[in-house]
C-alpha cells in the first residue's frame, strides 16, 4: 500500500514538473535596464515632490525648508519626465 502511494505521489509530481513542456512557449517580455532606471528615476522624483507637498501642507516642514527644496525637486522631476518620455517616443 505504501509503495503504491509513493508511486502515485511521484507520478503526480513528475506530471506537474513536465507540464510546462506540454504547453506552448510564452514569449519573453523585453527588459531594458537603462529604461527601467529612467522610469524609476521619474517615479522617484514625482514621489519626492508629492511627499514634500504633504509634509509642507501638514506643517511637518517649515516654509524655509520647503522653498529651499521645492524648486530643485520640480526641476529634477521635469528632467526625469523628459528623459523617460524621450526613450518612449
Amino acid at each position: 500500500m505504501s509503495l503504491l502511494l509513493v508511486f502515485v505521489t511521484a507520478l503526480a509530481a513528475i506530471g506537474f514538473v513536465v507540464l510546462p513542456f506540454l504547453r506552448p512557449p510564452v514569449a519573453a517580455v523585453p527588459d531594458d535596464p537603462a529604461r527601467v532606471a529612467l522610469l524609476e528615476e521619474r517615479d522617484r522624483a514625482v514621489a519626492a515632490l508629492k511627499e514634500l507637498e504633504l509634509d509642507h501642507r501638514s506643517g511637518a516642514i517649515s516654509d524655509g525648508d520647503y522653498r529651499a527644496l521645492v524648486g530643485r525637486l520640480r526641476r529634477e522631476a521635469t528632467q526625469a519626465l523628459r528623459a523617460s518620455s524621450r526613450t518612449a517616443t
Binding site: L3, V6, A13, A37, R44, G59, A60, I61, S62, S84
Partner: protein, 663 residues
Amino acid sequence: MALFGRAVLVLVLALLAYSTLAGTYAALRGRRRLLASARNALVASFACTALAAGTLVVAFVRDDFSLTYVATHSSRQLPLSYTLAALWSGQEGSLLLWLLVLSGMSAAALILNRRLVADVLPWTVPILAGMAGYFAFIPNVVASPFATQVAPANGIGMNASLQNPYMMIHPPLLYLGYVGLAVPFAFAMAALASGRVDERWVVASRRWTLFAWTLLGVAILVGAKWAYESIGWGGYYAWDPVENAALMPWLGATAFLHSVMVQERKNMLRVWNVVLIALTFSLTLFGTFLTRSGVINSIHSFSQSSIGGWFLAFIAVVAIGSSVLILSRLRLLRTQAKLESLVSREAAFLYNNLLLVAFALTMLWGVAFPLLSQAVRGVPVTVGPPYYNFFLKIFGLPLLLLMGIGPLLAWRRASFRSLVRAARWPGAFALLVGGMLLFSGAGSSPPGLVAYTFSAFVMSAIVLEFVRGTRARKDDSMSWLGAFSSLLARNRRRYGGYISHAAVVLLAIGVVGSSAYGTTATKHLHAGQTMSVGGYSATYISTTLRHEANHDALRGQFALSYRGKDLGIVAAGKNHYNVEQFFSNAVGIHTDWLRAEDVMLIGDQFDKDGSVFLQIAVNPLIDLIWIAGGVFLLGSLVAMWPDAREERKLARRSLEVAAPVPA
C-alpha cells in the same frame, strides 16, 4: 507509514535537486519553459513535504512508537494538542517543519512574483531550491524523523517545558520569521546574479521582509511570555544565546526595512542593502546552528547532535557565495546619489542602521566569544546580562531618540532651525514628563529616566504626525475620521511604520519599568502567615494536589490584597510530569491592567511540613510589553496591506518597460 515518509522525503530531495540544476541551466541560457519546470518542481516539493509532515503527525496521533522520533517525543498520556505540537518538539521533526515552511514560502514567493521571476530574476528559482535542497538533505541523510525501532509500550514523553500553549505557536512563528528572510535574500542574490540591481528586487522583497520581520518579532514576544509565565524566575528575557539568536536577525531586518526606503526614495545605499540582507539571513542560519548543534547549553536548545558541521558548511557557502556575488557586482551597484546633509531623513535612517547593526554585531560577539574561547583556549567563558544591558543602553537610547527625530526631518536637507521648530512641542512635553518623573522619585535609575523622557518625546512626535497629517487631508467635505482613514490608506507604509514605532515605545516603557523599578522578595511561610512587597500582601492559606492527564498539579493558595483591598485567591506551585519525570513552575499572576502592573507569585519550594518558600515579584508596567505586541502587529498589518495605487504604478511601469521603443 515510515516507508512512505522516507520515500516521500527522498522524492522531495530529488525534486529540489532537479529544481536547482534545471533552474541554474535555465537562468544561464534563458530557457523559459525549463525555468517554469524547475519552479513547478519546487512547488511540488512543498506538496510532498506537506505529505511527509502529515504522515508524521498521523504517527503521533496514532501513538506509533515504532517511529523512534514519536517514541522519544510523545507518550500515551500526552493531550492531543501537545501531541500535534510534538512534530516540532525535537531536532528531526523541527527540521522537517523548517523544510515545510521554507518550501512553502519559496513556492508562494515564486507564484506571487512569477512574472518578475520569469522575466527579470530567473536566478530566484535555483537559489531558493538550493537552500530548500540543503534542508531536505538533512532529514534524508543526517537526522531522519522516520527512523524505526521495535515499538515500546509507551513513549518517553515530551519535554515538559514545551507542554505550554505558548510553545505550541512560538516555534512555528519563529520558523516563519527565520525562513521568511530567505525570500528577500534569494531576490537580492538573484538580482546580483542576473545583473538587474534596480529597484525591482527591493519592491518584491519588501512585503516578504515585513511579513518575516513581523512574525519573528511576535515569535520573540510569545517566547518571552512563555519564559515569563512558565519558567517562573520573574523575568521574560535572559539574554540567553538562543534568545539572542532570534533577536539578532530581527535587528538586521529592522535595519533593512529602513534602509530600503532610502534606496527607493534616493537610489542610495544599494551596496549596503544587499550586504544587510545577506548578513541578516546569515544571522538566521547562525541562530539555527546555535540551537541545533548542541554547542551551547540552553533551555531552548536541542541536545548535542551531528548536524552542527553541516550547518557551519551551509553558513560558509551562503556567506562566501553572497560576498562573491556582491563584490562581482560592485560596479553595477554603485550610484551617483550622495548624502546631501547630515541633518535629513535619509541621514536619520543611516544613523538608525548603524546603531541597529552595531547592536546586532555586539550581540553576535557576546554569543560567539564563549564558543571561540572554548574552541581556541579551552576556557569556558560566560557573557552575561551586564554585557548586553550595557550595550542596550548605549545603542538603544539613541535609537529611541532617533525614532522621534527622524519623522520631523525633511528628505535631502533640513535646517537646524526647522528641526528645532518641529521638535519644540514634543521636546517640551518630554521635558515636562522627565521633570515630573524626577520629582516623583524615578531618578533612582538614570537610564530609566532618560528612556522615559525619550519615550515621551517619540510618542508625542508620533501623535503630532498623525494630527498634522489628518488636518492636512481634511477639507470641508470630509469628516475627521474620514481624513484619518484617508491618511492611513494613502500612506500605509509611513503611518504603519509610526504605529510600529509606538509599539517600540510601549515596549521600552515596559522593559524599563519592569527591570529598573521592579521589586522582588522571598519569604518562608507557614499557613496563615503573610508577606508584603510593594504594597501587595499575600497570605498563605493551604496547599492542594490535583491529578491532570499529563501531570500532577501542586498549588499553594494565597489570599492577595493591595493596600488593604482584596484581590482574591492566587494559586502558585509546581507541576510534576509523571512520564517525563520533570518538575516545572506554575506561577500565579495577578494583573492590574489599569496600571499595566503584574504581581507574580512563585512557589519556590514546598516542604513536607506544609510550609512554602514564596517569592513575590512586583513588575510595574510589564503588561505594556504584551500590549506592544498587539500594537506592533497592527502597525505591520497597516504597512503590509496592499496599496492599490502603488500596484497600479508598478504595473504601469512594467508596461512602459515592455512597450517597444521606436528607433
